[in-house]
């Protein structure tokens, strides 16, 4: 890859392009910060304690916590004690959402966290490693009068991780344990308006089920979903970005095919990067508004994974192709050592994701973290992926170091070279340094904004304006990597002079204007002709 547009552009043009991209960047931050609401919202639910008084246990009876046909409720378990109601006859009912509200497909996903309020009692403490067994059913309906339709039913086990922070004395009876949040449910699409959860904690002394879990006072749930407003802004952004990346991609590939030589590896990789970006961009999520596609969440994960893997591979190959050590690379197989960890690490994460979100397609209550074996397995996958990531970064850093070493080596030799050779190397160095700079800037931005979004509470007040920092982070960073890919495809496309007179035939459509502009640019640059001579030279090399 020689003679990219970036080298032939005047500094002025380059600055203009940079400013335009920066404007888009600012715009993408503003869209998230000012228009979109916060990305997700969490809703608290307190489970109603219903009494299942029917002895025969009707098979499909659903308990409503409020509204018409609500169940027979008890306030506290002391009341149940007095009325001799057993634990097995108690059903915790939670209706999602709260009254007068409706769920909507715009929420994209819904995950539910479970929390137990367990009071400390001297004689009824939580045993070490206590497991709680939850019999849970999920039902839905789309209007307020029809019957509930069962969506999922499962018996799940969760480990109670509770500790009591004060001294275990009679004085402190009645204080609550501090328990870890338990992952409870994850649904990949919110196609229905109303959901109902019925939770039982069956007790069996013989089977040692739900024994030694202390005195449960309440069950609290937290439902998390993506905000509809954020989804709309996000979709709008994707819908806008898809064609822009697609167009530049087609334009880029046209330039490559118009060349006489076959495309080199780096050009192919850049093109692949464009494809993976487009793959993320294509707003297939629009379908989730109309269809009940629960696999959308998993699909989104896979798309992101492919893009990340592609981006990492691109960096490695870009470094490799700019090594300037006379080794013939230009083959993908040369990079197996560096790309291997990426592929392997991504594969591990893919397996992990399949084990978690994949299984959740059939059982929304499944969690790989619920069992010890699962936790170990999950940790193993994540650790292996982490090792791969470390390995990758070691390779990358080493390669960047090598490039810089070669650059300084070449620098001293530059004056002695022929003009064409010198321009070739100067071009290489400039291209590399430019990408290096931009990449570092983008990565730094990502890291900085990630940290900001992690530490602050999500929104800043600026006079009358509320800036949603988290939304700005998502849209801004997403926009940034899109612009990054866009800029790479635009600036690193082969210079048009390669196919000399072809564009003058005037059938280039929208691109021709740009080409002519570039022609005028190049005439200002010193010694453009040499570059073109040089390109002939490189193809000989």
């Amino acid at each position: 890859m020689a003679g990219a547009i970036i080298e032939n552009m005047s500094t002025k043009k380059l600055v203009i392009v940079g400013i335009i991209l920066l404007l888009f960047q600012v715009f993408s931050f503003m869209v998230g910060g000012l228009i979109a609401p916060s990305p997700t919202s969490a809703v608290h639910y307190l489970a109603a304690k219903c009494v299942d008084s029917v002895k025969s246990h009707q098979p499909k009876k659903w308990f409503m916590p409020w509204g018409p046909n609500q169940c027979e409720k008890i306030r506290t378990f002391d009341e149940a004690m007095a009325r001799r109601i057993e634990a097995n006859n108690i059903v915790f009912a939670v209706h999602i959402p709260l009254p007068q509200k409706e769920m909507s497909p715009w929420f994209q996903f819904m995950l539910v966290i479970l929390q137990f309020d367990i009071a400390f009692k001297m004689y009824n403490q939580i045993e070490d490693g206590a497991m709680v067994t939850i019999d849970v059913g999920l039902a839905y309906r789309d209007d307020t009068v029809s019957e509930w339709t069962e969506m999922a039913h499962s018996v799940e086990q969760r480990k109670l991780n509770c500790n009591f922070t004060t001294a275990k004395t009679f004085e402190n009876e009645g204080r609550y344990y501090e328990c870890d949040l338990l992952p409870f449910m994850e649904v990949g699409s919110v196609a229905h308006k109303y959901y109902l959860l019925n939770i039982r904690l069956p007790v069996s002394e013989r089977k040692k089920v739900n024994i030694g879990i202390g005195e449960v006072k309440d069950i609290r749930l937290v439902g998390i979903h993506q905000n509809g407003g954020f989804t709309k802004v996000w979709f709008a952004m994707k819908t806008f970005l898809t064609p822009s990346i697609l167009i530049i991609m087609i334009w880029y590939w046209r330039r490559i095919t118009l060349m006489t030589r076959p495309p080199v590896l780096l050009e192919k990789v850049i093109f692949a990067l464009g494809i993976s970006m487009t793959f993320i961009n294509i707003p297939v999520e629009w379908f989730s508004v109309g269809f009940n596609w629960t696999w959308m969440l998993l699909f989104g994960d896979i798309r992101q994974g492919i893009f990340y893997a592609m981006l990492l591979s691109f960096w490695i190959i870009f470094c490799g192709e700019h090594l300037m050590d006379q080794t013939e690379r230009n083959r993908f197989s040369m990079y197996w050592k560096q790309v291997g960890p990426i592929v392997f690490g991504s594969f591990c994460l893919f397996i992990f994701d399949m084990c978690e979100r994949g299984v959740q397609l059939t059982n929304p209550f499944y969690s790989i973290w619920a069992t010890d074996v699962g936790t170990e397995l999950a940790m193993a996958f994540i650790i292996v992926a982490g090792i791969c990531a470390c390995l990758y970064f070691l390779f990358l850093c080493f390669m960047v170091f090598q490039v810089f070493r070669n650059i300084s080596g070449k620098r001293s030799a530059l004056p002695a070279m022929t003009k064409a050779r010198r321009l070739h190397y100067e071009g290489l160095i400039f291209r590399f340094k430019f990408l290096m700079l931009v990449t570092l800037a983008c990565a730094a931005m990502t890291v900085i904004f990630f940290i900001i979004s992690q530490v602050n509470e999500g929104h800043w007040h600026w006079g009358d304006y509320t800036v949603q920092v988290n939304s700005a982070f998502f849209t801004g960073i997403y926009g940034m990597w899109n612009l990054y890919v866009f800029a790479i495809m635009f600036l690193y496309a082969p210079s048009h002079k390669r196919y000399g007179d072809e564009h003058s035939s005037g059938d280039q459509g929208a691109n021709s204007g740009e080409d002519i502009q570039l022609t005028t640019t190049i005439t200002h640059v010193d010694g453009p002709t040499e570059i073109f001579k040089m390109t002939g030279k490189t193809s000989q090399e």
Partner: protein
């Protein structure tokens, strides 16, 4: 002229009496026989509410059950926190519930006001999360009450609604008189301190749910502390309460510490105007002043629950009683206990 003056002063006196008993609504806790407060007519019949509170009741009938539970919660928590003190928060079957003990601006009154304001905020917030109330959360949003508001940006936290309701319902008495008297200022401050005990002890919990569950996407929320914790916080504030007096700063009246050496109180601290009585003896003229005669005390303790202090130096009886205790119990998580009965002899000390 004189008659009018007399009438006015009488009116002032009545008002002052009323304002002193601003925690009368706690009497709601005693109305368990009433069933649920379901329609506006019931509001009129509720004892202990002032006219403005009845209006609030009528406008928010669905919330009143939660308010009543809050009142009960406040009394229970007060009795738990004061179980070892001379004044043990015992209630009467009259209005005001705590008798005349809280009508003076004492520490105890400060505690009662704080815990009751907190308990209403707590109970209303809980009722919100359990779906009993229809207008929680979302009505404080920019996008209004419409379902679109919920769809666009979700709802704000229920605690905001609970606190706002507590402010309007509990504080209304003090507010109606234009915040003039020092007692009103004290009550308002303590009410707010009670609510702050919840707000400043909200637990932030987070869940990561990005790609493969990474923290790329993280949602955090604030969880309300258990009410026992709120009670403990307010009890600590009770122990370190500041004695204040009213002073005029510019045109507004403010409460400042009586002892200028002390650092000024914060929003979370309790303040009081009058020193507490010793609560030692039964006083028939002061309802609620039951004295400590007949109370159990701890012989070995040197603290307030010890017999020395509890019995105010009057001495104590000691008798040996056989206590039937539960032992080697089997529990289920709810509603089931199977125990053996163990008998043991215990020395009980009661104040003379």
């Amino acid at each position: 002229m004189t008659s009018e003056y007399l009438l006015r002063s009488l009116l002032m006196l009545i008002l002052a009496l009323f304002s002193a008993n601003a925690s009368n609504w706690l009497y709601l806790a005693k109305l368990s026989s009433l069933g649920s407060i379901s329609d506006e007519e019931t509001c009129e019949k509720l004892r202990g509410l002032i006219q403005r509170q009845v209006q609030i009741c009528k406008r928010n009938v669905e919330v009143m059950d939660a308010v009543r539970r809050g009142a009960q919660l406040a009394i229970d928590e007060c009795q738990f926190q004061f179980r070892n003190r001379r004044w043990n928060c015992s209630t009467l079957e009259t209005v005001p519930v705590f008798g005349k003990v809280v009508t003076q601006g004492t520490r105890e009154a400060a505690f009662v006001y704080a815990i009751s304001a907190a308990s209403v905020a707590f109970a209303v917030t809980r009722a919100c999360s359990s779906g009993e109330l229809e207008k929680c959360g979302c009505d404080r949003n920019v996008h209004g009450v419409s379902p679109e508001g919920f769809q666009w940006s979700g709802c704000s936290d229920n605690i905001a609604y609970g606190v706002a309701f507590s402010q309007s319902f509990v504080d209304v008495r003090e507010r109606s008189k234009g915040q003039s008297s020092s007692r009103a200022l004290m009550n308002l401050h303590n009410n707010e301190a009670g609510r702050k005990a919840i707000l400043n002890h909200m637990r932030v919990e987070c869940k990561c749910h990005g790609v493969s569950g990474s923290c790329e996407v993280k949602t955090c929320w604030k969880a309300m502390p258990p009410f026992r914790k709120v009670g403990n916080v307010i009890k600590e504030k009770f122990d370190g309460a500041t004695e204040v007096e009213q002073r005029k700063v510019g045109t507004t009246k403010v409460l400042v510490p009586r002892n200028s050496q002390f650092k000024p109180h914060t929003d979370e601290d309790l303040v009081y105007l009058d020193p507490s009585p010793d609560f030692c003896d039964y006083d028939p003229r002061t309802p609620g002043m039951l004295g400590t005669a007949g109370r159990y005390c701890n012989k070995t303790s040197k603290a307030i629950d010890g017999c020395e202090l509890m019995c105010c130096g009057r001495g104590f009886h000691t008798e040996e009683v056989e206590v039937v205790d539960r032992c080697s119990c089997k529990f289920h998580w709810c509603c089931y206990v199977k125990c053996k009965q163990c008998r043991k002899m215990v020395e009980m000390h009661t104040c003379r």
